[in-house]
């Protein structure tokens, strides 16, 4: 393993410390819980608080999306492992400004359980909590079972839109409705070219044979829909656009936001190679790209691969996406 490590047991604490040191103008670590990262604007009185959380190893997600008019509090878990119920609860408390808290998170077994318990704990303190569970990954279950799908990079749109609604002064129901609309209108797909290694384990926990590509891979290496010989970048881009848009029947003329993220060990230039072709293909389908994002927005340690997310926009989503915000990740 050629990695920058001290003690593998300390990677999460050291990652959090680095974010706090580098971005002290936007976020800090909670004094009550070292696994809660707070926006410097968290807990603004009268504003709905917005919280997320998840396992580490996806940086800049999740903590890099805390900031001004962005997430108020982020619960940080071990590598690829849900934060504890207590940590979610502490994040909820810190985010609460008296108008309730929206917890916007991804559909994973551990996160579902820990958020459920944290919500019960918050209810005892009369903090109103509502949730939106992201399920944008088209290859993780059929469309007919959308509730089983995982949340992936579409979560970024869900956060941005939900946080902007809170910043505009929406009440808890309004924030939840906006975030729900953003994830409902998002579809994502991932492809993996090489696996990732958990620092504490020291070897890859799944395999992708050299020369192969896993289409539909999840953010922790969950298997996709097929493994095939790695074709040209253009063919990969075409395949990804097809998987996303075949799942989401959008009328010609629809404006979309497009997000291409690397999974950690893919060179940025290759993301742009993919994007060039994807943009062409998306427009060839009659859609209009209103805003593209290309970069490492939601990674999986050192996995080689990329994800594509397409969000179908309306005037409300465009206004909320465009609302001024600052955070380390975007």
């Amino acid at each position: 393993m050629q990695r920058f490590l001290n003690n593998p047991d300390d990677v999460v604490d050291e990652t959090v410390a680095g974010f706090a040191a580098a971005h002290s103008d936007m976020l800090h670590v909670s004094a009550d819980n070292p696994r809660v990262v707070l926006s410097n604007w968290a807990g603004t009185a009268g504003r709905v608080g917005v919280v997320t959380g998840g396992g580490s190893g996806h940086e800049p997600a999740f903590l890099g999306y805390a900031g001004r008019n962005m997430l108020d509090a982020v619960a940080v878990g071990e590598i690829f492992s849900s934060p504890t119920a207590k940590t979610f609860h502490d994040a909820i408390r810190a985010a609460d400004g008296g108008a309730g808290v929206a917890v916007l998170y991804g559909n994973y077994a551990g996160d579902n359980m820990n958020v459920k318990m944290a919500r019960k704990m918050a209810a005892k303190e009369d903090i109103a909590v509502e949730t939106v569970v992201a399920n944008d990954d088209v290859c993780s279950a059929p469309l007919s079972e959308r509730e089983k799908r995982r949340g992936v990079a579409g979560e970024i749109f869900m956060w941005k839109v939900g946080c902007a609604a809170a910043a505009e002064g929406a009440d808890l129901a309004g924030v939840i409705a906006a975030a729900q609309k953003a994830i409902d209108q998002s579809r994502s797909v991932g492809v993996g070219l090489a696996p990732c290694t958990l620092p504490q384990v020291g070897h890859p926990n799944f395999q992708i044979e050299p020369g192969k590509m896993e289409v539909g891979i999840g953010h922790h290496g969950e298997p996709g829909v097929r493994v095939e010989a790695l074709p040209s970048a253009n063919d990969v881009a075409d395949d990804m656009v097809r998987l996303v848009l075949d799942d989401h029947d959008l009328p010609a003329g629809t404006e979309v936001a497009v997000l291409v993220s690397g999974l950690g060990a893919t060179p940025i230039n290759e993301l742009y190679i993919l994007y060039a072709r994807m943009a062409q293909q998306i427009e060839a389908r009659g859609l209009r790209i209103w805003k593209p994002y290309v970069g490492n927005f939601f990674t999986s340690l050192d996995m080689v691969g990329a994800t594509l997310t397409v969000l179908a926009l309306d005037d409300e989503l465009k206004r909320l996406l465009a609302l001024d915000a600052t955070c380390p990740a975007m």
Partner: protein, 214 residues
């Protein structure tokens, strides 16, 4: 004797924690085949930390409460809440009972199972810890009804847990991360069922030894 004292039975959790820590690498290896390979690491961390905070003179109830607190507040993932709820409800069920007899132990384990069912989304056959726990408790109840003997029921529980764990090898995972593997999840033991069988074996053997010497 057909009962052990609650007070001082905290050492049962010390013994179970020691077994979990000993099996850290094995549990991670099983998990790594269809999961992310951290089950042993997280279990050993949680049980190990809890064990250090449990005094040998404590009651089993209080030891299980400490274990639950550590799992829920420091471990996270899926196993933190699942085992956390299980031990929380087991601790609540046993409460201040001075003696742990066969009925109290059976009720305690059923409460733990209910806790797991309440927080999780799995059912038996989904390749989870339930596939060790449910048949083990059924065997415990059946043997107790048949023989009226605590020690025999504990042995039946332990054996059924191990058999249940072994049956997970041929199951397809239906919940959690490994469920995305579908058919590819067959042929490997479930890590949760494996750690659950270790826990039940720890209770069965530990209580049996105490019954003999009581």
């Amino acid at each position: 004797m057909q009962a052990i004292a609650n007070e001082g039975a905290a050492t049962l959790i010390h013994e179970i924690a020691a077994v979990i820590v000993e099996n850290k690498a094995w549990l991670s290896e099983i998990d790594g085949k269809i999961g992310d390979g951290d089950h042993g690491i997280n279990m050993a961390k949680g049980f190990g930390r809890a064990s250090e905070r449990i005094d040998a003179g404590d009651t089993l109830s209080s030891a299980m409460q400490t274990l639950s607190d550590v799992l829920m507040s420091e471990i996270g993932g899926s196993m933190g809440p699942l085992y956390g709820m299980m031990f929380q409800d087991m601790a609540d069920s046993l409460g201040a009972a001075p003696q742990i007899d066969a009925a109290a132990f059976g009720a305690m384990m059923r409460a733990g199972l209910d806790g797991v069912l309440d927080i999780g989304a799995a059912k038996p056959g989904d390749k989870t810890l339930l596939d060790a726990l449910v048949p083990a408790l059924d065997a415990y109840d059946a043997t107790l009804t048949e023989t009226g003997d605590f020690a025999s029921a504990l042995a039946a529980m332990r054996d059924a847990a191990q058999a249940g764990r072994d049956r997970t090898e041929n199951m397809i995972a239906r919940v959690g991360r490994s469920s995305r593997l579908g058919e590819r999840s067959r042929g490997v033991l479930d890590a949760g069922a494996s750690s659950c069988a270790l826990i039940l074996e720890g209770f069965a053997n530990g209580i049996a030894v105490r019954l003999k010497s009581a």
